[in-house]
Subunit: 115 residues, 2 copies
């Protein structure tokens, strides 16, 4: 099955997880298409200054893969700067937040897998 | 956990699945990091003319998300052209192949999930 970019479900979510600004969430595939193994396989775009607030994942893990832009990523208690090509992993029981801190939009792939 | 681009395992695989040329497989996370739910979450790069040969997935599904370049994708019996932003899904029991047909490298995200 092929899904064109224009077929993807796109949502603009304000203050995602209590963050600042808005996040554009483009679902590359829907949960039902992913055999219910994953609630989210998406490209997320955050304009400069926008963020996804700190939250803890329970019963699932989330990976990010940075496509473009620059991010400030809070990994449990540590803040690190991410660049294109970097990836992150937040296991069940752990928390994270991410903010777009460059001059261009932060684009990333987000993948959540049920534990 | 943060994995820098330089921390990723990168393999150059010749004639992947019987295809032409070589594929660069950069694993964004390793299977053990993905709770053994996924054997592959990777960025794959195919130089122009290179391909991943036709193969059938059994007991797992695979998604592609095109980042750059142009692809000729054989989806079961139908050949379609893919551009950046398009995604594909190959369910268990189905087959696919993909070839880099543009003038620039084809880059894609590949995600396999066990059924």
């Amino acid at each position: 099955m092929v899904k064109r970019k224009t077929d993807h479900q796109v949502q603009l979510v304000e203050k995602l997880r209590g963050g600042e600004g808005a996040a554009t969430v483009e679902r590359l595939l829907m949960p039902a298409e992913l055999c219910e193994k994953s609630p989210l396989f998406a490209k997320i775009t955050l304009q400069p200054g926008s963020s996804i607030g700190y939250h803890i994942h329970e019963g699932e893990m989330e990976a990010f893969y940075i496509l473009s832009g620059e991010a400030e990523f809070l990994d449990k208690q540590e803040t690190v700067t991410l660049s294109p090509g970097d990836s992150t992993l937040t296991q069940s029981g752990e928390g994270h937040s991410i903010k777009s801190v460059g001059n261009t939009p932060l684009e990333l792939i987000a993948l959540i897998l049920y534990k």
